[in-house]
Symmetry: C3
């Protein structure tokens, strides 16, 4: 991909910030402090990388106000260097536009409404009555069920599957292997056999949502599973039936969320965490990686439950007491009583 | 989908139970207590939802014997309301029948035997000598390896992959992204390099099994991996080579089961749990979510090993002692001895 | 598949080792101690299976030097029976050769370079400028992005997706559902909304790598994500952007590795383990299943952090103290002081 060059002055005119040093310095790509070359724009988003400033060969750098004078490299000073970098990078690396049209191999169901500006790639199958909005890109091998609605400027990477009747918002990004709307895990025991409970709800996804590779979002049992606007899901997340994820919540990879749990807005959930079913998680809650949330969280804040690792031998020695903690606590109570008795005797 | 209406009297005639209130009340769909409208049949499966009874606008309700008089809504009284609801819902929401036939784009290998009543969708690839039973539905983009056998009335959702020679039972439901029969993780270290151990076993799956989206079941190294009748697997489960899962066991999402472990019948395993390899788990064992089972379980019962979460600061303060629990226990022993010594002096 | 028979003498001539008993004994397949029949070669890789020796009906067996006389069955004595077995099994069960050619349904982009000896199956889509090496097999429904390079004798099972510009080494095995090069999880908060950070790095994979079903490896944010030679990844592993995995490291199923972490060579990581981002893991580190690594590991060795499971009631009783461990430790300190005071009074 040929990269266009821009002057720092141009970037500041477009994205704000103040240029220090030569404003005619041109950059054509973003890069890390370590890898940057002349012609690259790098960034300092956190003080802990300040030591790398001296060695960088970047042509220019984005820094926060506090670091305005931490380097002599031509620089853009702004309030939020990481967000500024995100904007410049998106500007320098635009997503390829959809080429309008339907590949002749695509199988399109009766009554499907495909905007003429949408791109439908090879071996896509679209069910009856589905609708795809303007500028959306459905890449090869995707399967879009009957009655599905997809908004404008969505991008489904190869081999995404959307089951029937789900509703996907504008600008959705769904990476390969995503499965939206498969049956939730609803079973009832009846005389020694499991009966399947039909899953007749849908998945409803808001605008500006991104879903990572091989993530699964199950359809609701009766009511819908809901992903609100601006939610960002990493890879291999499992969202069970009737979960609701509040707007602008971000969830890292491998998290599992059990059925009918409601997660608030602006939450941040670390990788491989788990949340049991039928819980309420407030807005602005942070959950650490590898933490199981087993009851509702009513207050914002950071929550953790991780067993600390150590060398295997030490772990074994220490962990062996966990099966006797209650006895240990009893023993301490007893010691207290004995000391009390001794004291009284004195 | 047009919904047909039924009288409560019709449902009771078909599924049993006793009607209280107007038996001519008609319902066309099932719903939750919260969302139900006139024409909807809801259910009360657990006492903890009894408070919602007063507010429901459902046309009718399924209740247990203990709740026969807890409401005046027209109702069906039965022993197991949740199972009753499952049966009525399946009756009101029948799975679409297979439309017999093979899409012209399907690629069918030599000697494959496809029952004429089976449905083979677009872009399906079926290997040589495979066999698909009556009424089975193989949806778009599935890949069925050479020599695979699939029973009757199975349903493979889009983009399921089954490797060669696996055997899948009657009425199997496999959701999108399922991979059955990929190579198990068999490697042997030899002079600084891993050698691959050919995985020459199969996956053999019984009748009435359901497998959730993106779940993987590896083929056996030498003998087979076996999933018995009636097993229900949720999404994103990993079943390693030579595992055996006993009949009617239900496993929630994101569970990992390591190689050569045998799980009994009627077990229930919570989400994101793990089971190490070469273990034996008895029948009727319940394993909590997020619990690692590191040795065999010989007795039925509920087993748990979860680190409790708390506010991050409190967790940090408390967890710091876990690396010194052994020293703490030693200290307590010493205190006991010192108290004993003081006592003797008295 | 018809199996060819070999004499033990032939195998020893090819793979080394010493034959004891009748060297003309022929075998055509490998098997477990339990399942082996006449004509089968089994192996004893660990002393703990020695008790099964008496009952095996195997025609021949591979044993270590220490077990040379533990049985009278015709046998091959060698230094590493498990590796020996791997070699013989690979010899008896060769991977089917690629049938050169491109299925007429494959969609090939402009300028793609496909070696004439490669096999491109039905419904494969290959992007512009991609290159596939000699003897490689791309099975049905794979999606190979523009500019991707794949080495020689690679095997991509059905429905693998490789995003644009990734580089895959020689003899790569990628199982179904693998997604290589999807966008890493890079987002920046800006005035209440997440901005997407373009992921402009690649995934670069060395030679002799195997990747299990539904594993995902994200492309780098700016620099590349790197998997070195000989790495073996099991199913459903999540490798985040800018991770580097050192040569010959083996990782079991369901592991999650967060962004920018570097793992050394010859590490072994157990199932469902997790490694936080921006960490350094030394060579020859072993990490137990279900363990979260939250800080860098500088020394080789085995590391563990698992909460031990027990019967649910006992767990509850014991775990309740974990939220008060700090108070418990304080109490013990106080007891010490009180005992000290009593002692001084004496």
């Amino acid at each position: 991909m040929k990269q266009v060059s821009y002057r720092l002055a141009d970037l500041a005119a477009r994205f704000g910030g103040r240029v220090l040093g030569n404003a005619d310095t041109t950059v054509s790509q973003v890069s890390t402090l370590d890898s940057a070359q002349a012609g690259h724009l790098t960034f300092l988003a956190s003080g802990k990388y300040r030591a790398q400033l001296a060695a960088t060969r970047a042509g220019a750098i984005i820094v926060g106000v506090a670091d305005a004078d931490a380097t002599q490299i031509p620089r853009i000073v702004c309030d939020n260097p990481y967000a500024y970098f995100a904007k410049v990078s998106a500007f320098l690396n635009p997503v390829p536009q959809a080429v309008p049209g339907i590949h002749p191999s695509a199988v399109i169901g009766d009554g499907a409404q495909l905007d003429p500006s949408a791109h439908i790639a090879a071996y896509v199958v679209i069910g009856a009555g589905a609708s795809i909005g303007a500028g959306s890109v459905i890449m090869e091998g995707c399967s879009i069920g009957a009655g599905v609605t997809i908004g404008v400027n969505a991008r489904l990477y190869p081999r995404v599957v959307v089951y029937h009747d789900c509703v996907l918002g504008n600008r959705l990004i769904a990476h390969s292997g995503v499965v939206i709307g498969a049956d939730g895990f609803g079973i009832a025991m009846d005389e020694g056999r499991w009966l399947k409970i039909p899953q007749i709800g849908r998945v409803v996804i808001g605008d500006d949502v991104e879903i990572g590779a091989n993530t699964t979002i199950d359809r609701g049992a009766l009511d819908d599973t809901v992903i609100e606007d601006g939610v960002k899901l990493d890879n291999q997340i499992q969202v069970a039936h009737n979960v609701r994820i509040g707007a602008h919540t971000a969830i890292a990879g491998c998290v599992g969320i059990a059925g009918s749990t409601t997660i608030g807005r602006y939450c941040r959930i670390g990788g491989s965490a788990g949340i049991l079913g039928h819980l309420q998680i407030a807005d602005y809650v942070e959950i650490s990686s590898f933490t199981l949330i087993g009851k509702s969280i009513r207050e914002p804040g950071s929550y953790t439950g991780i067993y600390p690792f150590s060398k295997n031998d030490e772990w074994r020695k220490n962990a062996s007491h966990l099966r006797h903690l209650d006895a240990l606590a009893d023993k301490i109570k007893l010691l207290q009583q004995e000391i009390e008795a001794l004291r009284r005797k004195d």
